[in-house]
Symmetry: C2
Subunit: 352 residues, 2 copies
DNA sequence: TATGGCTTGTGTTACGTTTCACCAACGAAG
DNA sequence: CTTCGTTGGTGAAACGTAACACAAGCCATA
């Protein structure tokens, strides 16, 4: 309703002084003055107008987070930790849900930029960042979450990611170590950097063990449009059914993430397969439900709290000292294999 | 970078005209002029500074959504649909996660208000809205999601909710119809309107059938602090174990929501109970995973897409024509019982 | 008694937009 | 030839804040 001037008038001081009080320059006035101003602020329930402040300062204390899909609790967890990290440093967080659609992401990025946000975190790990060139050219800093960024350093200023390939390798090696030879993957379209990384990791681990991962053992969502985030569990269910209906069904499955894995549970049971007796399943992410599922899901854990902390720190550093431009600022963190009850030694005997 | 004046200069017109072009007042100029302005805008990649616009206009085109917890996919679904509905009407949506903490919610509400947002949707269904009096007095419109609002009409301007009591009744009646007599509830602290409603519904249905729901059959999270949203699944697991360890264990469980129900699956299995053979479980919400779970979860569905649509429509109406103040604008929608595999006729015989 | 330095402020300008009153030019009508 | 209305604009003020240069009062020192 009423601005800084009204407060100033009632406290008998100038607007500048009120501004100083608000912004913590307490050494510039007598305690008595400060007390009086604070009193009026309290009494009027005055809050600074953020739009005016932002207009004046040219930027605000907010970060943006663009996530692929709220349908996957993993991203809920990420949002939670990113927000906490941002808030600790005095930044607000705006969360958007873009379903990995470049147009929607561009729209949000534009909206954020013109609302004064200068840094966003992007979770969609697209194959190309070209569509963001416009906004980055106009000053928006983009941090990549969930993707190793080697090229496109002109667009992306920093990044944190679990080592996707290593994650894929860990999953596959675990199954191989249990004697599995026919290993398949269940995924939505493998058209993001992170998914490609995971797939390649599985492939590499298998190759090292003298095994193959033929394309038709990598189920990619059939004719789903988009990336299959919204319907992940459903796709996992359909995918594993198709794979298990083959003449040479796999004995081990690496799901592209835990939602697909949980869906795969349902699909395997639809066909009467027992987990882990008949089919072993490994997930990726380690969402809360992985531990609750029956059997508890063996999966690759991403250390989300630490990753969130890092990426927020790096992005804020980029924003606040946007001059050094030196350190590449790309961190790869190590995923961890969490062995639970959904994987078991293969029972080749019964097939022989 | 450069503002409306730079565009005006390059197009050889005044800033006012550029403003008119941007805001669609095309009848105020020649097509030729408009074309020239548009050309310069395109060429400069000019975007209006939202802060300045907002400062001038006093409010912006955004709605806020304060959700209890991103840890529960139900709220992810709500966020998704609310956002879609808002976007359709030209509004942006800011999503915040407040863990039902009145202080955090107040903080966010204040932040939103002072950033120009005039309408928020609140999902936490607290017992009292008093803590919001300040912000509503300063003009913030608050819509309640997930709660029937009878009092506090001075604070809350509109609301949409599933009929919580009816939902509870449907769940209990289903179990009663299957012959269950010892029915218990698993929940976090029953200290929100929605949870109280669900509990009362269960109680009423049981009373009508001549059954009792003693307090010690309503497990409320033990010594958990807060509302147990973050750890819902874990609490469900612990709670059902305590209930099933009693001398007179229940044969039917109504969980306060699907996350608790999924946790209850795990807890029942921990003790060797078979679902639904030994224990029947009913959830609430119908999240995606309810269908995927093994067995698929019998639950009470909330029609989220329709509810999101309604509440956004009502809130925007309140904002845009904030004068009529007439219609109460409280809608109760009907929940639906979805029978799946987690409930079964009681096997009293074996106990006898 | 000057001089300087500290303390405790104040006045003004600028941020980029929208809006509203105003205006020039021109054709039509009286 | 005047008056009027319409078309196609323009200029300036205002929104609420932060920053910067400046200043009044006062004390210590030379």
């Amino acid at each position: 309703m009423s601005g800084i001037h009204e407060v100033a008038r009632r406290a008998g001081v100038s607007a500048s002084t009120v501004s100083n009080v608000i912004n913590g320059r307490h050494d510039k006035m007598r305690p008595e003055t400060k007390r009086r101003v604070l009193e009026v602020i309290e009494q009027l329930k005055y809050t600074p107008n953020i739009a005016a402040r932002q207009l004046k300062l040219g930027q605000n204390q907010s970060l943006g987070l663009i996530i692929p899909s709220v349908a996957n609790p993993f991203w809920g967890l990420v949002a939670h930790h990113v927000e906490r990290a941002a808030r600790q440093r005095g930044y607000n967080l705006l969360i958007c849900n873009a379903e990995r659609d470049p147009n929607v992401e561009t729209h949000y990025a534009e909206a954020m930029l013109s609302s004064g946000i200068t840094g966003i975190i992007l979770g969609s790990s697209p194959l190309s960042f070209d569509y963001l060139r416009d906004v980055t050219a106009r000053g928006l800093k983009v941090a990549a979450f969930d993707q190793r960024v080697d090229q496109a350093k002109d667009v992306i200023t920093c990044g944190v990611s679990v080592d996707q390939e290593l994650g894929g390798m860990l999953a596959a090696q675990h199954l191989i170590g249990l004697g599995h030879k026919r290993i398949a993957m269940v995924s939505g379209p493998i058209k993001t950097k992170s998914r490609i990384g995971r797939r390649n990791g599985v492939k590499m681990a298998m190759a090292r063990a003298g095994l193959q991962l033929p394309d038709d053992m990598v189920w990619q969502g059939g004719d789903v449009v988009g990336f299959g985030d919204l319907e992940g569990a459903e796709l996992g269910r359909i995918g594993i059914r198709e794979l298990l209906s083959r003449d040479d069904p796999p004995t081990g499955i690496v799901a592209i993430n835990d939602m697909y894995a949980l869906g795969a549970y349902a699909g395997a049971r639809d066909l009467g397969f027992h987990i882990p007796g008949d089919i072993s399943i490994v997930g990726f992410d380690d969402i809360i439900l992985a531990e609750i599922a029956q059997p508890a899901l063996t999966t690759i854990r991403q250390p989300v709290p630490a990753m969130a902390e890092m990426i927020v720190r790096m992005l804020i550093a980029e924003i606040e000292e946007s001059g050094n431009a030196e350190d590449p600022s790309f961190i790869n963190v190590t995923p961890q294999l969490i062995v639970r009850g959904s994987t078991n030694a293969v029972r080749e005997l019964q097939n022989a």
